[in-house]
Amino acid sequence: MSPAQPSILIVAEPQGQQPHPVAYELLHKGRQLADARQASLDVLLCGTPGMETAALIHRGATRVYLMEDPCFALPEEQIFVAQMTAFLKELKPEVILTGATSFGRSLAPRLAAALNTGLTADCTDLHMDENGRLVQTRPAFSENILANIMTDTLPQMATVRYQEFPQAMPDPEHQGEVVRLPLPLPVPDTGVLIEKLRQLEVDITKASVVVSGGRGLKQQDDFAMLRELARTLGGEVGASRTVVEDGFISKDHQVGYSGHRVKPQVYIACGISGSPQHLAGMKEADVIVAINTDPSAPIFQVADVGIVGDLYEVVPQMIRRYGGIWPVL
């Protein structure tokens, strides 16, 4: 550690033996901040033994601080926070960035409270001002406003949305160092028993095409039609909250403010009205296609291709047209 050089630190979240890909996006933004500040760009990764670190270095990390221990096998933020805090109090980074995943959003506030500093949630942009202080931009009021926020205390901490920034490009020539850290503390007894129940059926946040169904669907079985369209286009199926609540499909598929935020190349909304809470989860898709019988549905306000029509006529034609299989009724 060179105390003279400030550190911009990324907290990477483990996903199996890999860092969650939001870390690669944070390396993209972090590189800009580190260059502006002439700082080192470091990563702190806690995970089970055998974590992959090469990609973090190739994508620009100066140092990867690695803590490996079986105690990091389960999402128990209290254990992560206790170990990280002890180390971070020594490293004293100027900036700490965490991905705003559900785990990141549970971990970072605890970490900030433990480090006695402020935290800005869910940032969509970050830059250094002329005095080398971090300007954090975040939406609030259910996405209706953007606020620029600064932190009076150090470290300046922010969580950043997944898929907000591009990933840092890998450069196999880039040199960096992996610094293995012993656990600074014994593993605390948190009073929480934790066991995994099941894996998510699908991770729709990573799909390049999402075909979503809403209340325009008459029955659960009709999702089969959307599945076939999704399969044809190499994508996954999403849903509005209404049909998740009706039990048509699991919450794993829910898009929106209280579901998943998706940013696919193409989003196809079938029988979805386009409530603000639904738009919050998909309005940043590259291309939005909407199929709705009601020409005044708000979803058409955000659609690149709006189709006023019955999804039961339109979707089967799409499937056949784009190479899938669906019977002609």
Binding site: E77, A112, V305, G306
Partner: protein, 269 residues
């Protein structure tokens, strides 16, 4: 069992208007309501009260008018309500809010669990619950999808984190944050509403938290983060094309887009 439910009063997001040109939130344009996620936290507490026996206290920091939300909490099954309201608390960020709530909880003293919403629809951070947990050194059980009371008097929750669903069972005290999936909040009955309307809600000021909270830890001056500027972006609008009775043209348009993104296998004619 004593459960403290953290509840915030927020503007009604369906109605609130934003002045894009002046860059201000027109708070008068909408009424206020209880943060929707906090109603799920309250409902979970009231269900525990019914199934296992519990006392439920609703705790809110906000302006004097926020009393209205606490009355609503009473009408929906809370036993007690407490308002934290003082000009000194104004302008608190999540850190100062969490400090203030934690100080009040410290003064309340005896509790077994704290319930909060996953996030607020105005602040939208989801930080306050986790920060309160850290300040009180409690385990955090965030993103609760369902909750049950287990043999041996323990709270067990199904949460969605990482790449799946986990069960977290808390052997002592804990702080739980609830998603909208956790339950369907009940509607208050007419008689409950009438009764709640007459309730007198105690209000604590900064002075009431002496020994638990210092003036330097709350409000605008106690907040490490400061909003420097607010921009209200125009509502999302795309230069889209809308097709009516022109499905073939619509499908052509989409095909061009899909091909440009290499999402369509070229089908030989």
């Amino acid at each position: 069992m004593h459960i403290i439910v953290l509840m915030k009063e927020v503007p009604d997001m369906e109605k609130v208007r934003f002045d894009t040109e002046k860059g201000v939130i027109d708070r008068k344009s909408a009424g206020t309501e209880v943060n929707p996620f906090d109603l799920n936290a309250l409902e979970a507490a009231v269900q525990l009260k019914e199934s296992a026996g519990a006392t439920v206290t609703a705790l809110c920091m906000g302006p004097p008018q926020a009393e209205k939300s606490l009355k609503e909490a009473l009408s929906r099954g809370a036993d007690e309500a407490l308002l934290l309201s003082d000009a000194a608390f104004g302008g608190s960020d999540t850190w100062a809010t969490a400090r203030t709530l934690a100080a009040a909880i410290g003064k309340i003293g005896a509790y077994d669990a704290i319930f909060a919403g996953e996030k607020t629809v105005d602040g939208d951070t989801g930080q306050v619950g986790a920060q309160v947990a850290q300040l009180l050194a409690l385990p955090l059980v965030s993103y609760v999808e369902s909750l049950c009371w287990e043999e041996g008097k323990r709270l067990a929750a199904v949460v969605s984190l990482w790449d799946g669903f986990y069960r977290k069972t808390v052997t002592g005290k804990g702080l739980f944050t609830f998603t909208k999936t956790a339950n369907t909040p009940r509607l208050p009955g007419v008689r409950d509403k009438m009764k709640a309307r007459k309730a007198v809600i105690p209000c604590w000021k900064l002075a009431d938290l002496a020994g638990h909270l210092d003036a330097s830890e709350t409000g605008f001056s106690g907040s490490p983060t400061k909003v420097k500027r607010i921009v209200i972006p125009p509502a999302p609008q795309r230069q889209g094309q809308c097709y009516r009775d022109a499905l073939p043209e619509a499908l052509d348009h989409l095909e061009t887009l899909l091909k440009s993104k290499h999402l369509l296998k070229e089908v030989e004619a």
